[in-house]
């Protein structure tokens, strides 16, 4: 657009693309995973692939909060609203994720008696808390999802709810942890199919947790990690840094996004999270299966504001649609176009799997921005 942005400049991008092409060894391939859905979106939205040499391949990772939320967890929220007359508040993308019985939170909403229960979209955890304060007769449950960036705000509302002694507010916690998902991908037994030479880590996660939690990827798995910002030029710069590391046989944790990331991250935010949450021994991820110590749950001191404790909820795993390839796609083993349902039964209007829902999901990004690549387009 006619508004020059130093982070999206075409000349700089071309220069970086050429630098990557010069650095990349033509005798080999490079496969890097951008862990985070935000990077997937930036890569697709700006057509970054076109600026990379053909032997550098980007693989979309599982870092899209909506994509890894399993059906059973959404079913829990739907049941709460339908059977326990609760008002569920959650982020917009969650509403459209397909759940059991052909339902989604959005479709469930249409069946509710609005005088008793509701399902509402909020922009923040604080909005949900404010609703509970405003309407004390309404039982409000915040369906919390997300990686380390959204965890501190949820911790904050839980502390506030306790301080206020709120009786009509609780949180259904689905906060998950980035490093655990990376381990799952590197360790996955079927993961033999995907060879990865390095990771791009999300900067906003590291502004909270720092870069230290990635040390094991370098030390134990001997893979480089570059923590990068979300502008397309940030992503390209980090790809160049990964190519150099691979060429030099290094596997370091590097930081492209020096603007705000430190080794230790935000200690205050970490302390806040620590005070409210503890590790969940097991949590099921969509696509990655049940992973130990991969998610957070609310500490017993906050049980009164923990929807799982308060309503005696149990998690029951539910299988995904049998043709949906979200699992293999989230692990980087397949690409969206490999799914039989892609673009036919499954589109952003009629998503069959979670990867087609959020614009950060691999299938939605490919459908919205990239699907012309699957078909040779005749030029005029």
């Amino acid at each position: 657009m006619k508004y020059v942005d130093e982070f999206r400049d075409g000349t700089l991008a071309r220069g970086l693309g050429e630098a990557i092409a010069r650095a990349a060894d033509p005798a080999r391939d490079y496969a890097f995973m951008e862990f985070c859905g935000g990077h997937t979106h930036a890569i697709s939205r700006y057509g970054v692939i076109d600026l990379l040499p053909s032997n550098v391949r980007m693989i979309h990772g599982p870092g899209c909060p909506v994509c890894v939320l399993p059906v059973g967890r959404i079913d829990m929220a739907i049941r709460l609203a339908m059977e326990q007359a609760v008002t569920i508040c959650t982020y917009g993308d969650c509403l459209r994720v397909p759940a059991s019985d052909g339902l989604s939170l959005l479709k469930a909403r249409a069946r509710l008696d609005k005088s008793r229960a509701d399902i509402r979209m909020v922009y923040s955890a604080a909005d949900a808390l404010a609703l509970a304060q405003r309407e004390p007769q309404r039982e409000v449950v915040f369906l919390a999802i997300g990686f380390e960036t959204t965890t501190p705000p949820t911790a904050l509302v839980l502390q506030q709810a306790r301080a206020l002694g709120l009786k009509n507010f609780s949180v259904l916690c689905n906060h998950v942890l980035t490093p655990a998902a990376i381990v799952a991908i590197l360790d996955h037994p079927e993961g033999k199919g995907v060879r990865l030479d390095g990771f791009i880590g999300p900067a906003h996660v590291s502004t909270v947790i720092g870069s230290r939690p990635y040390d094991f990827v370098a030390e134990h798995y001997r893979k480089p990690v570059v923590i990068a910002g979300f502008e397309p030029l940030d992503v390209m710069q980090s790809i160049l840094m990964l190519v150099s590391q691979v060429n030099e046989g290094r596997h370091d944790i590097e930081n492209e996004f020096s603007r705000a990331v430190t080794r230790d991250g935000n200690r205050k935010a970490q302390a806040l999270v620590e005070a409210v949450f503890e590790l969940r021994p097991q949590y099921e991820w969509r696509g990655l299966g049940s992973l130990p110590d991969s998610a957070l749950r609310i500490r017993p001191e906050f049980a009164a504001w923990d929807a799982e404790a308060r309503f005696g909820l149990d998690y029951a795993p539910v299988a995904d649609h049998k043709s949906c390839e979200c699992g293999t796609i989230l692990r980087g083993e397949k690409r969206p176009a490999d799914c039989k349902l892609f673009g036919t039964a499954c589109t952003p209007e009629t998503p069959m799997g979670s990867c087609m829902v959020s614009s950060e999901g691999a299938c939605a990004a490919h459908f919205n921005y990239g699907r012309f690549r699957d078909i040779a387009v005749v030029a005029a």
């Binding site: 006619k2 400049d9 991008a13 700006y46 600026l51 921005y369 005749v378």
Partner: protein
């Protein structure tokens, strides 16, 4: 109805009540003292059930278009539902190549709506109609109970006359044609969103709501009529959706250069903030022109010569493509699709 038999309409404190839509004295008074005075023209003054209008000339064709307006909020920077109701329908006629001639207006009012605000809307609508030279020649008023409307809904229908030879249509896009826009994209949509989300910006974003028939005329003055292949106003769904409609209609594809699409810096900044793409935001005073490449320079010059087209730009070309994809070259230099807007629940914007 003689005004001195009843107290005049209380346009300061009064509110719409059910009687105003019942068809009796109250309705007649509302029509006479509010609509009649504001729109004042001989057809309306006849007071019959319809307007009797002169037939167009023999070599012209009649064009008719209709547009319902439910924008919320009713008043926004750069316009209101009244002016929008005029511009919306006038523009539908204009992009058909027609000279807009007459409008009808149907008002659905909600019980309890302040008459002072209704007067502001009607006055603004009348001003827009006069400025466009397109009179409101007939109308209707209904009132619905409180809670069953949203203040005011306005549906306008327009009649225009299309001179011979003006045959622009989405299906006429041809491979090799050039795609032009008359100005910045997304202003109206963002002006509405900014009010709703109460975003504070240094300088408020204004809706681009405007009547486009003058601009269309300027274009036809500069080009042979059959060189103008497609005319569209990219309203709901924005530029992206309109280009996809044209691609589907014509069975062709497009290649658009994102860096050449004009977007106001504030709109761009607000989009960043809200995670939106200005190419999907509505416009109410912008034109998309697709014409033969040999006439592109003349078309661009004609648009830029007109006050509504100062920022006109050439943004891409039509290409052969069996899948009729609209492709976008990003400012970074990569390619991606510019797809249809997919089902986001966006607020009512027109």
């Amino acid at each position: 109805m003689k005004a001195h038999y009843t107290r005049p309409l209380d346009l300061k404190q009064g509110r719409v009540d059910m009687n105003h839509g019942a068809g009796g004295r109250a309705t007649a008074q509302l029509v006479a003292e509010l609509f009649g005075r504001a729109f004042d023209n001989p057809w309306l003054a006849q007071g019959d059930d319809g307007a009797v209008l002169p037939a167009p000339t023999a070599d012209e064709q009649l064009v008719m278009a209709c547009d319902g307006h439910v924008v919320s909020p009713l008043f926004f920077p750069g316009g209101d539902i009244g002016s929008l109701a005029v511009h919306g329908t006038v523009n539908d006629l204009a992009v058909m190549g027609a000279r807009p001639l007459y409008l009808s207006a149907s008002f659905i009012l909600e019980e309890g709506y302040p008459l002072a605000d209704l007067k502001r809307i009607v006055d603004s609508m009348a001003a827009a109609s006069r400025a466009a030279g397109v009179p409101v020649v007939t109308g209707d008023t209904k009132v619905v109970e409180q809670g069953k409307g949203d203040g005011v809904f306005i549906t306008t229908t327009g009649v225009g006359a299309r001179p011979a030879g003006r045959i622009a249509s989405g299906a006429r896009a041809a491979a090799g044609d050039v795609v032009l826009v008359s100005g910045s994209m997304g202003d109206h949509g963002m002006a509405i969103l900014a009010v709703r989300e109460s975003l504070a910006f240094d300088s408020a974003i204004q809706s681009d709501s405007a009547a486009l028939h003058g601009l269309v005329d300027a274009l036809y003055q500069a080009l042979p009529a059959d060189a103008v292949h497609v005319l569209r106003d990219p309203t709901r769904g924005g530029l992206a959706t309109t280009l996809n409609e044209i691609a589907r209609q014509s069975g062709l594809g497009m290649r658009i250069d994102e860096a050449s699409i004009p977007v106001h810096p504030q709109v761009e900044a607000a989009c960043e903030l809200l995670g939106l793409d200005p190419l999907y935001l509505a416009n109410e005073g912008k034109l998309i022109v697709i014409c033969a490449a040999s006439h592109a320079d003349a078309a661009l010059a004609a648009l830029r010569d007109h006050p509504l087209g100062r920022q006109a730009a050439r943004i891409g070309e039509v290409i052969a493509d069996d899948h009729h994809f609209v492709q976008l070259r990003t400012p970074l230099g990569g390619m991606r699709m510019l797809d249809w807007l997919s089902g986001e629940p966006l607020p009512r914007i027109c």
